[in-house]
């Protein structure tokens, strides 16, 4: 499905937030956050550690109550359309001793909420074919029948993404899916996510601490810092002026010769501030 922007009036957008805020244990994590995420777009939630990036994702899943504002996902309050939203949580990898096949993990995305034992029949065959198709799509056919605990981080991530896609979601939420992967797996998983977004028309929202592996694919950036957020295209948000205003301190964005962006001077970045000693 290739949506053509402007020509067709699409149904309700993937997500719309109006002045949302979350407080946990009396502490406000962020407030006054507004954004609008269109269907079939690729968005990222950026921000320093502890800014509440995962909390925003949980709010979109309906697992984190808001203290104010409204947050609609696919035209209804967050959490109402769980069957249309895929989720890949932040995690280490599965423990080495987990002896369940990758394909069973994928299959749970399809029937894991259903009661009773699977009965053989036409439906079971159709579901098996669907699982196989998902595994082919993430190019995991070579190892999907091995215990998932024995696979590499990138291989596990592909299978977990396939699981999240099992019910053909319209929105896919991923929490740091590139965390802990080596550089080549990061590039491969990023391009896989981009393909899912473009070819299947899925609105992808992903939390990341490094924007560079996905920078070429991005439509929208939500940058969380200082208890609030700015939202816009990568060029609008990731620049010295916008980020300086957001952080309330002087922040510079440098572009390396290979196109990579480096944010210098954000208060929480330890390599720039706290590690610098002046003897």
């Amino acid at each position: 499905m290739h949506p053509t922007p402007g020509s067709v009036a699409l149904p309700s957008p993937a997500a719309v937030a109006h002045g949302i805020a979350v407080s946990i244990g009396g502490r406000t994590i962020w407030s006054g956050v507004d954004f609008r995420i269109e269907r079939a777009t690729f968005s990222v939630i950026l921000g320093p550690n502890g800014a509440g990036k995962s909390t925003l994702l949980k709010a979109m899943l309906g697992l984190q109550p808001l203290s104010s504002g409204t947050l609609d996902v696919l035209g209804e309050p967050a959490g109402e359309r769980r069957d249309r939203v895929g989720y890949v949580p932040q995690r280490g990898t599965f423990d080495r001793s987990v002896r369940i096949r990758g394909l069973d993990v994928v299959r749970l995305g399809l029937d894991g909420t259903r009661w009773g034992i699977p009965v053989p029949g036409r439906r079971a065959r159709a579901e098996r074919e669907r699982v196989d198709a998902l595994i082919r799509m993430v190019e995991a056919d070579a190892y999907a029948d091995r215990p998932i605990g024995q696979l590499s981080g990138g291989e596990q991530q592909r299978l977990i993404i396939a699981q999240a896609l099992a019910r053909d979601p319209e929105v896919l939420l991923l929490d740091e899916p590139l965390d802990g992967l080596d550089l080549s797996s990061q590039a491969a998983v990023s391009s896989l996510i981009q393909r899912i977004c473009r070819e299947r028309g899925v609105a992808v929202v992903m939390v990341a601490h490094d924007v560079n592996p996905i920078l070429p694919y991005l439509d929208e950036v939500i940058y969380l810092a200082g208890g609030t957020a700015v939202c816009g295209s990568p060029e609008e948000v990731i620049n010295g002026k916008t980020l300086s205003a957001l952080f309330g301190t002087d922040v510079e964005v440098l572009r390396a010769r290979d196109g990579r962006l480096v944010v210098v001077g954000q208060p929480e970045a330890p390599a720039i501030h706290t590690d610098r000693h002046h003897p």
Binding site: D83, Y87, G92, V98, I100, V105, G112, W115, G116, A188
Partner: protein
């Protein structure tokens, strides 16, 4: 020499022992598979031990031992269900400390109840190590009456339970009521343990709950095949143990546990050699292409 003894099936007590053993092994094999997957072995061990003070206490105050087994096991399961579960490899939970505390208190009370009961040592033996001989038809029916509903409940629960066991966060996001599922599983485990302990004793039930499932998980990573294999292994070692005990002058429990342990060792060896083989398998070409 063995040829001179009549076959085991000529005696009703042996027939009932085999019947009871089969029911217990099937139920323990299925529930144990999930228990091992969920890393709740310690909770399962403690559930099987708390049956002992339950039964001893009930006997002491003149109630039926069965009532004691069920009350204590299900109560303990409810307590464990209230402890927040460990959510990931990095997020530790105080689960094991709470369970350990409950276990030591329960063992101490069990010992107290037994000594208050004027030194009936054969009773202690049966509570801990079971009494396979002298099982009545009525007891076999009771085992069926608890075991069959437990299996049906597990079958109804199995997919959400597998989902919750592997990935509670994603299961919750997909709409699985994770809390309900994990509480129900522990209660089911408590009931099945209480039922089985009355025949196998508090110690042996744990062998059937952990060894066949652990062996099955080493041998196959498929959930359906794993649960079936776990039940088959459980039944096979139970029959083997009972038949050996019929011919040899040692307790059935020892044979059943030793046979289970043997199967487990073999399964680990098979798994180790299989893992070595897959580790040597070359990287599939497709992955190299897409990185470039």
């Amino acid at each position: 020499m063995i040829g001179g003894i009549p076959g085991p099936l000529t005696y009703p007590f042996m027939v009932n022992a085999l019947r009871a053993g089969t029911i217990v092994a099937v139920v323990a094999g299925a529930l144990g598979w999930f228990m091992v997957l969920r890393r709740q072995t310690f909770a399962g061990h403690t559930l099987s031990l708390v049956g002992f003070p339950g039964a001893a206490g009930a006997t002491l105050v003149g109630l039926s031992a069965s009532l004691g087994y069920f009350t204590f096991c299900i109560l303990a399961a409810a307590i464990f269900a209230a402890i927040p579960r460990r959510r990931s490899a990095r997020a530790f939970s105080e689960e094991s400390a709470v369970i350990g505390s409950v276990q030591s208190l329960m063992l101490a009370s069990g010992f107290l109840f037994v000594s208050l009961y004027a030194g009936n040592l054969t009773g202690l033996n049966a509570l801990l190590f079971g009494s396979f001989l002298g099982i009545s038809n009525a007891q076999v029916l009771v085992l069926l009456a608890v075991g069959v509903p437990a299996l049906i409940a597990l079958a109804a629960l199995c997919r959400p339970l597998l989902f919750e066991s592997l990935d509670p966060e994603v299961a919750a996001a997909a709409g699985v009521r994770v809390r309900v599922v994990s509480v129900l599983f522990l209660i089911l485990l408590g009931a099945a343990v209480a039922e089985a302990s009355q025949i196998t004793g508090s110690l042996l039930v744990f062998a059937l709950l952990v060894l066949p499932p652990a062996a099955a998980q080493s041998l196959t990573p498929g959930p359906v095949a794993g649960v079936l294999l776990s039940m088959v292994v459980g039944v096979a070692v139970t029959w083997g143990g009972l038949v050996l005990a019929y011919y040899l002058p040692y307790p059935a429990g020892t044979f059943i546990t030793s046979l289970s342990f043997g199967v487990y060792l073999v399964a680990r060896a098979v798994r180790a050699s299989r893992d070595r083989r897959t580790a040597r398998r070359p990287v599939p070409a497709a992955r190299v292409v897409e990185v470039a």
